[in-house]
């Protein structure tokens, strides 16, 4: 057990917890955007920033990634924290002003107009899709293009591998800013991503004739789970 204080309340946290975990245990709400309880934390949106004091120095850190430490004093609502959060959401809004999800966070933080503008870009690089594809779907088709010396890639972005992607659309589901969208047209699924459009052939149900899931995704499941090859001939509605 690790004992720390959050907003002057003492918390008993388990070893390995993050500050966000500890705060949620005692019902303290910390705003998040790139966090999801089923995924590893990304620390990328910086909305969950809190102020910590340890050994006399204080600093801002991300609550979703910082591990609990004995004796830590955490403040989730200091002036410094509030300012940093406002700036972070304003930056995100400048990049992607047409996102209901971002506006929801902005209003929560008391922002009704960002102080600056940028050329709109749908993807805010929060990494939710990257982590979902890796950790939930277990495919790992999406990754960041890494920056580096003499690797100037212009705008950093995510890249969806057409080879690895199975067309399951989990990324479109999790994306908070509609940077990845899915559209099923006739026998084709079209996945629109920051690195281009991907098309997948959809499987037709033997019984009702409806196109219901990408063939590549079904093949992936059959192979992974060791199922018989005709298990998905019928759509879920027509299966006995």
């Amino acid at each position: 057990m690790v004992r720390l204080t959050i907003d002057n309340q003492t918390v008993e946290a388990e070893e390995g917890w993050t500050i966000l975990d500890a705060a949620s245990k005692i019902g303290i709400h910390i705003p998040t955007l790139c966090y999801h309880e089923s995924l590893s934390p990304g620390g990328s949106c910086r909305l969950c920033v809190v102020e910590i004091t340890a050994n006399g120095t204080s600093d801002l850190i991300a609550a979703c990634t910082y591990p609990v430490e004995a004796g830590l004093e955490v403040r989730t609502n200091s002036e410094r924290v509030v300012k940093a959060r406002k700036l972070a959401i304003e930056m995100l809004l400048a990049q992607r002003p047409h996102s209901a999800r971002l506006w929801e966070s902005a209003r929560e933080l008391g922002i009704d107009q960002p102080g600056f503008t940028l050329k709109e870009q749908e993807c805010i690089l929060c990494g939710l899709c990257v982590r979902t594809c890796r950790e939930i779907v277990n495919v790992g088709a999406i990754s960041f293009i890494a920056q580096g010396i003499d690797r100037d890639i212009g705008e950093p972005s995510i890249e969806v591998s057409p080879v690895k992607c199975i067309g399951c659309d989990s990324c479109a589901y999790i994306c908070p800013t509609d940077a990845i969208t899915v559209d099923d047209v006739g026998d084709t699924r079209i996945l629109t991503t920051p690195s281009g459009k991907l098309e997948f052939k959809l499987k037709k149900c033997y019984t009702c004739g409806k196109y219901w899931a990408p063939e590549k995704q079904l093949d992936y499941i059959i192979k992974k789970a060791g199922l018989v090859s005709n298990v998905f001939d019928n759509c879920p509605d027509c299966r006995d």
Binding site: T57, P67, L87, A88, M91
Partner: protein
């Protein structure tokens, strides 16, 4: 850099702007470059502050240029760092064009502080520092009307990007770059990036001394990033996945180059020359390639198939490796020239044990051996009968390798005798620990003075205890014998591992290749040219016994020199060399303390348990799993340092 007019370097503010040059306060011991290619450096901007040495410097333009360079390395994986810098650049661009708005400075400062306080890694927060300094101390420059700024002569800028780990590495590998690729599961790209400066990633991923880790910023937080293990992971992943390395055979249209020695220096030179189209032949006296990596590093640290694979990759580029061919015995430098080799690179290493000067040594007693010879014999497959007790003299990696090899050969009691204490021991710390775990005993502060014999056999060593006096030339405290403290260590064998030297017996009388007093080949610094035109040399035969990565770096550089020599007949330091020398002394650690960094446990590769592993030559350390490698890569703080120099147009 002339008189410093203004500086915030390392957080110390020196402001001489309103003073006469005679009254300038000193900026302390700034170790910043003064000259670049014969031109005066007028200002310097980097993670540790802003330094101005000429009042004509346009600080605003400089901040804009600097931040553009910073943006190229801002990864985008945290919104505040990446977007903050992007928005700041937009504002700076309009200020530079004199189209700034009221309140722009406040906006810039607000954004800058936001980046400094709330970005995710160490890069953006440290990189933004000099820009914030310029906003705080050169405010009037940002608000000046157009007319007054137009008079300024535009500066020429020079940029260099490095990092503490990169700077410590003799080959200046882009460590944060390949770690970031591993973190993003781009393993193939990671190993390709490594090969740009290090053609032996599997060998160095196992046996490098890792200067980078000693200089890692995490040393101040918890423990260094496991850089060597990460390199091995990327390289082994490529091999285990069965994919061939992305090295393309080039059409060899350029002249023939001969390389003597297929060790790390020779292989690196051959690799780089072949990549740019030279016809390369490497000659080596042994029956396999690898040099000291083959004959000096035991298989439990570096399996033989790994050596084979990496030299094969170089062969695949078209490099011919002629084995069992010894310089002076089978070929001569003259012959090589006559055969049409237009340049020669001598990389013969340091394979001679240093003379051990104690009583009864070299008197023909059975049971005395030299460390490098002993390892060479074992590593080349010679059968050596194990005895009961062996003493190994020395504290370097050769001594440790001998000791652990002896255990594996079946020696029952293995004792290292080292004249200094544990802290001065030059051997790799983890190797020393591994040896002790396996049962090697170490006698610190002692040295043999006499070999004890019976008949023609060795029965032990008379040793004397030492104490440490004043530091010697190496900076380590000098060991001094303690009078009357002699004691006897019984042994059937004594191995001397007190140092190695190059064997330069191939340089015959009258050879125009000069040597040094230390018995090494003399070369011009940076160019690796010997006193004979067209003959270059590098690696241990130039430096004396050093490390794999120093040899690889020498091979890389020698290849560049040889190319210059064969292309233009002249050798000049490359721009990168000039920049490296310029910025080497700056000092890259965090002098201006950044934010709190969360401690995260270092991921260590699995090791064979000490109890059984000393019975075989099986590799002791395994590769990190992909999961552990990614976790370890996430510990990297990305301490890239962007340096921008403003250079005066006049000399």
């Amino acid at each position: 850099m002339g008189g410093v007019i203004f500086s915030t370097w390392a957080g110390k503010v020196v402001d001489n702007r309103s003073l006469h040059p005679d009254e300038y306060a000193s900026a302390g011991d700034l170790r910043l470059p003064l000259q670049y290619n014969g031109h005066r450096v007028t200002a310097f901007m980097s993670w540790n502050g802003l330094v101005v040495a000429d009042d004509k410097v346009d600080v605003v333009d400089m901040a804009h240029t600097y931040l553009k360079e910073v943006q190229k390395l801002s990864c985008g994986e945290c919104s505040v760092g990446y977007l903050g810098i992007k928005i700041m650049l937009g504002i700076l661009a309009r200020i530079v064009k004199r189209k700034g708005n009221e309140g722009d400075i406040e906006l810039l400062r607000w954004l800058g502080v936001g980046v400094k306080e709330n970005a995710k890694c160490d890069f953006c927060p440290s990189a933004i520092t000099p820009v914030l300094d310029s906003l705080n101390y050169y405010r009037e420059e940002y608000t000046k009307p157009v007319a007054s700024r137009k008079k300024r002569a535009k500066s020429t800028y020079m940029t260099r990007v490095t990092a503490p780990c990169m700077e410590a590495c003799p080959a200046h590998q882009d460590v944060p770059g390949y770690i970031e690729l591993i973190r993003n599961r781009r393993y193939k790209e990671a190993v390709e990036l490594i090969r740009q400066t290090n053609c032996l990633p599997q060998i160095t991923g196992r046996a490098c001394v890792a200067f980078c880790e000693a200089n890692c910023t995490r040393n101040d937080v918890d423990s260094p990033v496991a850089i060597r293990a990460l390199k091995r992971f990327a390289a082994d992943y490529e091999m285990d996945g069965g994919s061939a390395p992305a090295v393309e055979k080039t059409k060899a249209v350029k002249p023939r180059v001969a390389i003597i020695g297929a060790g790390p220096a020779g292989l690196a030179a051959g690799y780089n020359l072949a990549l740019i189209g030279y016809k390369v032949t490497i000659f080596d006296e042994q029956s396999s390639a690898g040099g000291m990596a083959l004959v000096g590093i035991p298989a439990y640290r570096l399996p033989r198939d790994i050596l084979e694979r990496e030299s094969d990759i170089i062969r695949r580029l078209g490099v011919k490796i002629k084995l069992n061919t010894k310089l002076s015995r089978d070929i001569t430098l003259e012959q090589l020239s006559a055969e049409g080799f237009k340049a020669i690179f001598i990389a013969t290493g340091a394979h001679l044990g240093r003379e051990f000067d104690i009583e009864n040594w070299r008197q023909g007693y059975a049971g005395l051996a030299d460390g490098v010879e002993f390892l060479r014999d074992v590593n080349l497959g010679k059968k050596i009968a194990a005895k009961d007790r062996v003493i190994i003299v020395g504290g370097g990696n050769v001594a440790i390798d001998c000791a652990r090899t002896c255990l594996r050969l079946g020696f029952k009691e293995v004792t290292i005798v080292y004249r200094r204490s544990r802290v001065e021991m030059p051997g790799r710390k983890d190797e020393v620990e591994a040896a002790e775990e396996e049962g090697v005993k170490i006698h610190f502060l002692a040295t043999p003075v006499k070999v004890l014999t019976k008949g023609d056999k060795v029965i032990g060593a008379e040793c004397i205890r030492m104490e440490l006096g004043e530091p010697d030339a190496s900076g380590r405290r000098r060991p001094i014998p303690v009078k009357g403290s002699e004691f006897v260590l019984p042994a059937d064998m004594i191995i001397s591992a007190i140092g190695e030297a190059p064997d330069l017996s191939f340089l015959t009388e009258g050879e125009p290749i000069e040597t040094t007093e230390q018995g090494t080949i003399r070369v011009a610094p940076l160019s690796y040219q010997t006193s004979q035109m067209g003959v270059f040399s590098g690696g241990d035969c130039v430096t004396g016994p050093a490390t794999l990565i120093e040899a690889i770096a020498a091979g890389n550089r020698a290849a560049r020199s040889i190319d210059q020599y064969l292309t233009s007949g002249k050798i000049a330091p490359s721009e990168e060399d000039t920049k490296q020398r310029l910025t080497h002394d700056v000092g890259l650690w965090r002098q201006r303390t950044g934010g709190v960094i969360a401690r995260r446990a270092r991921q260590s590769p699995r090791q064979l348990p000490p109890s059984g592993r000393a019975l075989s030559f099986d590799e002791v350390e395994s590769c990190l799993t992909a999961e552990a490698a990614v976790k370890e890569a996430e510990r990297c703080l990305r301490c890239y340092r962007v340096m921008l120099l403003a250079v005066a147009s006049e000399s």
